[in-house]
Amino acid sequence: MRQIYLDNAATTCVKEEVLREILPYFTEDYANPSAIYSFAQKASQAVEDARRKAAELIGANANEIYFTAGGSESDNWALKAAAEAYNSKGKHIITSAIEHHAILHTCSYLEKQGYEVTYLKVDEYGKISLEELKKAVRPDTILISVMTANNEIGTIEPIKEIGKIAHENGILFHTDAVQAYGHIPIDVNEMNIDMLSASGHKLGGPKGTGLLYIRKGVKIRSFIHGGAQERNRRAGTLNTAGIVGLGKAAELAKAQMQSRAEYETKLRDHLISRVLSEIPYSRLNGDPKDRLPNNANFCFRFIEGESMLIMLDRLGIYASSGSACTSGSLDPSHVLLAIGLPHEIAYGSLRLTLSEETTLKDIDHTVDELKGIIKRLRDMSPLYADFISEKKGA
């Protein structure tokens, strides 16, 4: 059966070039990069090369990049350590209602520790309001954390302006850029970013790799204790192969960003226009313009997302409903509720996220199959039956 992978926001296939560069560090240059003997030289050099590449992608200095085990660790580190480091100034944090749970659950943990968190509302497209942000700022606000782009609906937030407001008020600005890193241009200086979380596996790198960018001068402490790695800020033997993979993926992403974004955007817009014009009672979630090049997110009324996913799966099409991280949950997506959708519509969501490997044929095939699936599920739905009979009655 033909397989179409449309869940690249969940994770991506490791790129061939990345894999090739990683392999020697398992069996040849396997020395601990922190060791002092010459055998470790190659590994430690490879880690530093990767650090430079990871930094160049966001206009940072190499010594401001700290490797972690992934985006969730980076988010946890940034929030908890910033809260701890700056709590003499205050205990108020501002974030948005549509953050990834790595941010939201960390915030609720901090709330239990006596911190106060303001969750900025978003508009129907998933954007925060800069006016609301300004109003939320208080003298005791120590941190603003707003994601660069949303993982479910793909909306890109006005990061530069948010960072400006943070800095005008002497507040630290962190952004969760897990979905954006390597996909859209980011410049930490131009965009006033103090801390940035990213992950390796969303851009063709290996899973279990990530980074936290910490601007020079930001005084947050170690989160993982136990060694002098990463300039005493993140203990644990360096994951040489993983770090090399992240670095290579970042290098490729930088070189190919423009052409890939153009390609994906064209496919994405074709997908969106076919779905909206050919499937009745469907809607696009997220901002139509300011959205990740590879993200399309829809709601189909009268049906439920999981049924759709299982039927797509049986046809070899792999998609997701909200995010893979919440697929065990019975609740509809907090992001879709935050943009104002009622529960019954939020349940019928479908996220399709493309890669540069996705073809026009893949998209057309998916839309063709989707039409049949949605018709079948609607024929089974009491909500649809009621809607049609009301329509006839009216």
């Binding site: 049906i303 019975l330 529960h343 089974m380 649809y384």
Partner: protein, 145 residues
């Protein structure tokens, strides 16, 4: 995550549809919980369920439990149909994942609601059948971190 039987009843659901002038119709669940089941019963003068249809909005398990529940009550008399419990539906499907157990409860409730509607229309009382709740409460789950 689903058994083969669940997948079978989800992908080839039995008895999907509506019955015009049904003897009893029951709708349970609500859109907020993400599941709505509606069951139609055609019951003859001897109290035998001649035909049964369903329509369901919900996940794979919701569709599969509806399908299985309709199969289990078809041809039975009212009293026997009342004895089709959520446990029986689950067993017939070779089990459900823990988070989906509420779907089988919903299927049982839908049958009861349709039987209640039938009893109301006929002006009879069915032994052991109580007025079904309007909808099933949300199952509160512990959040894990």
């Amino acid at each position: 995550m689903y058994s083969e039987k669940v997948m079978d009843h989800f992908t080839n659901p039995r008895n999907v549809g509506e019955i015009e002038n049904a003897s009893g119709v029951g709708t349970v669940g609500n859109a907020k919980c993400g599941d709505i089941m509606r069951i139609y019963l055609d019951i003859d003068d001897d109290g035998i369920i001649k035909d049964v249809k369903f329509k369901t909005f919900g996940c794979g398990a919701a569709v599969a439990t509806s399908s299985m529940a309709t199969e289990l009550v078809k041809g039975k008399n009212v009293q026997q149909a009342l004895e089709v419990t959520n446990k029986a539906v689950m067993e017939a499907l070779d089990g459900l994942p823990p988070v989906k157990v509420h779907c089988s409860l919903l299927a049982e409730e839908a049958i009861h609601a349709a039987l209640w509607d039938y009893a109301q229309k006929k002006g009879i009382k069915i032994e052991g059948l109580e007025k079904p709740p309007q909808d099933i409460g949300e199952i509160v789950e512990e959040e894990d971190y």
